[in-house]
């Protein structure tokens, strides 16, 4: 435990850890100090010189990322002389920077723009014809485009590949103002975490090829989601926008900081899983390939539940609340519930960081509710029924069980968020909203319970809503908690903070 001391910043007293770096201390206290090369996950590098502050007793301005907090130190982040220093250093950062804003994807979330608008606003003192030309559209692999002209050489990306992933694909080559970020000639990014450098890059030098020219960032809404790609449960922002005449569409996922789960990063597959989320959405209720009304579908469903003793299969990626309500349903009608977790296992995906071999997102909740997960139990249960009700278990229909040919004579009712082969031909197809449209909670493989908020607004009913209308189970996650889960966990839905709760 380090000692807390009082320091004076711009006339205000704040408490800080003695010996801590000054820059993150200031940032944590909401004091904006411009910076490029410092990053919470990478530490300081001292090369951009933007974070200069005046420290009483020091002749020259100091970089806050290399200054340690001392008791009673007096810091100025914005007097006239420091503002002039900041403006001049920013001018030098912009000196070789191409005027690409109109075509640069970073616009709207670019540090150069932000700082310029805050304390720059000066005319260029060097003609743009004299700017140095470098490579502008290098595809360096893994969906990343490098524009060397826009680069401010903060070295965040090279440090990421050296110190975080240890894959060393990037280096700074050349010298002086000819220096540039590059891969080895002919080589590409390899790490499955490559696209994180797009977020790390404070300017538009590293951009996503996938996102290129698709959307301006100020049109998008950012919802606080959790990636459903595996059991790690990395926190994400779901950036989406509803354009005219179109449905609310996700344009990208970005990592959301959670020091308990994923830190500052996510894997590339998780990041790109937004595409699966967007595609093949379902609308309309179907029975044997005929579009039917919701009323008719619900009537038929109720009839099946009451008379045909179906087996309930749940996806281990459903939310804790959805699983709870399905369990209530199963108890109401005296039915069995199975999760078949094996269908989601993929050993080849696993690594020692953020990728789990369990490609489902909520197996821990399934186990907490004592829902059976084994293949053998499932096969035995299947032998005793003629109807299966599948709650969005995506891999249930692929080869892992198909080759057992045990589904051949079974009727299937599907609650599905996304389309799949012959889905409309089944006994009943009920479209439901997906995780990006719902709020709920998940428990990850390390036992962290996390909440995610509802993101997109598309006109589909959630599973909770449909079951509420069918059999009056709780309609919202909070109601599910109040009625069933508060007792189980010993706390309420509102008590789950932004970094989740370690169980």
């Amino acid at each position: 435990m380090s000692e807390m001391v009082s320091i004076n910043v711009d006339g205000n007293r704040i408490q800080a850890d003695k010996g801590a770096l000054l820059l993150p201390t200031l940032l944590k206290n909401g004091i904006m100090v411009p910076h490029f090369c410092y990053h919470d996950a990478l530490g300081p590098d001292g090369n951009c010189r933007m974070c200069m502050v005046a420290i009483e007793g020091q002749k020259r301005p100091q970089i806050a990322c290399d200054t340690l907090v001392k008791k009673d130190m007096v810091v100025s982040t914005k007097n006239e002389s420091i503002n002039d220093v900041k403006r001049k250093i920013l001018e030098l950062e912009l000196l070789s920077h191409p005027v690409d804003c109109p075509i640069c994807d970073q616009a709207g979330e670019c540090s150069l723009q932000d700082y310029y608008m805050e304390f720059g606003l000066n005319e260029a003192r060097r003609p743009k014809e004299e700017k140095k030309l470098k490579n502008k559209k290098l595809d360096i692999g893994k969906n990343i485009i490098l524009d060397q002209e826009r680069c401010v050489l903060c070295a965040r990306c090279t440090r990421f590949t050296q110190e975080i992933t240890h894959t060393n694909e990037l280096a700074i080559i050349g010298r002086g103002n000819d220096a540039r970020v590059s891969t080895v000639p002919g080589q590409e990014m390899q790490t499955p975490y490559a696209m994180n450098i797009i977020d790390l890059c404070p300017v538009g030098a590293l951009t996503s090829k996938d996102f290129r020219f698709k959307q301006r960032v100020w049109f998008m809404h950012s919802s606080k989601g959790v990636c459903h790609g595996c059991a790690k449960g990395c926190n994400i922002y779901i950036d989406h926008n509803q354009e005219k005449y179109k449905s609310d569409t996700i344009f990208r996922y970005r990592p959301r900081i959670n020091n308990r789960v994923n830190g500052h990063f996510i894997c590339d597959e998780g990041r790109l899983s937004y595409k699966d989320e967007n595609n093949e959405r379902l609308s309309g209720f179907y029975q044997h390939n005929k579009l039917i009304s919701e009323e008719r579908a619900m009537t038929h469903l109720l009839h099946c539940l009451t008379t045909l003793h179906p087996l309930l299969i749940v996806s281990p990626s459903l939310s804790l609340e959805e699983l709870t309500v399905i369990q209530v349903l199963s108890q109401r009608f005296n039915l069995e519930v199975h999760a078949f977790a094996q269908g989601y296992q993929d050993e080849s995906f696993e690594d020692d960081w953020l990728r789990s071999k369990d490609r489902s997102s909520n197996l821990a909740s399934v186990k907490k509710l004592d829902i059976k997960t084994s293949k053998d139990a499932l096969i035995r249960a299947l032998e005793c029924t003629g109807l299966v009700i599948n709650f969005n278990h995506r891999s249930f229909l692929n080869t892992k069980l198909q080759d057992q040919a045990i589904l051949v004579n079974k009727k299937e009712i599907h609650f599905a968020s996304h389309s799949f082969d012959n889905c409309k031909h089944k006994e009943l197809l009920i479209p439901i909203s997906s995780y990006s449209e719902n709020e709920g909670t998940l428990i990850n493989e390390d036992g962290v319970l996390q909440r995610y908020e509802a993101g997109l607004c598309n006109e589909k009913k959630s599973l909770l809503q449909i079951l509420h209308e069918l059999i009056s189970t709780p309609a919202t996650p909070k109601e599910v908690w109040d009625k069933h889960l508060n007792e189980v966990f010993g706390f309420g839905y509102e008590d789950i903070g932004p970094e989740g709760k370690q169980l």
Partner: protein
């Protein structure tokens, strides 16, 4: 075609290794040895050094491109490097360049099969200005005439 150190370089490497606390210090010596062996540092040589020293290839490219004396592409047999910094300019570097142009027909940054002409920064021979470095050798106290004679002597 893959690259390995010749016998002499391998022996030098083995002798140098225990003299440093960490093998990473051998980056510069290895780059030099590779350059002496092939006349430049090829991609295969970079690969070889990277494996031999267990340093990342990107790091090696970063180092090799930082220093002006490493060539990552083949260059002509004779590299004429004329010092352009202040003392040499004051003492008539431009006349030397003119003499070179008259003798081999090349201006600065031009090459032909045999020669490459470059200007380089201070070579630490200011007392012998104007001067040039021909491959690895210094030639100081030049005049236009002695420059032409030098090129005739060494390069014909």
């Amino acid at each position: 075609m893959s690259f390995v150190f010749n016998e002499e370089n391998e022996a030098t490497f083995t002798a140098l290794l225990p003299r440093y606390p960490h093998h990473k210090s051998l980056v510069l010596p290895c780059l030099w040895m590779a350059q002496y062996q092939e006349g430049y540092i090829s991609a295969e040589a970079m690969d070889f050094i990277c494996k031999k020293l267990d340093v990342p290839l990107a790091h090696l490219y970063g180092v090799a491109t930082f220093y002006t004396m490493f060539y990552l592409e083949e260059i002509p047999k004779f590299h004429i490097q004329v010092c352009k910094t202040l003392s040499c300019e004051l003492c008539g570097k431009n006349d030397i360049l003119k003499a070179i142009e008259e003798e081999v027909g090349l201006k600065v940054n031009e090459s032909n099969e045999l020669f490459k002409v470059s200007q380089v920064e201070c070579l630490g021979a200011c007392g012998g200005a104007p001067m040039l470095q021909l491959n690895e050798d210094y030639h100081e106290n030049l005049t236009p005439q002695s420059t032409k004679e030098l090129l005739q002597r060494f390069c014909k």
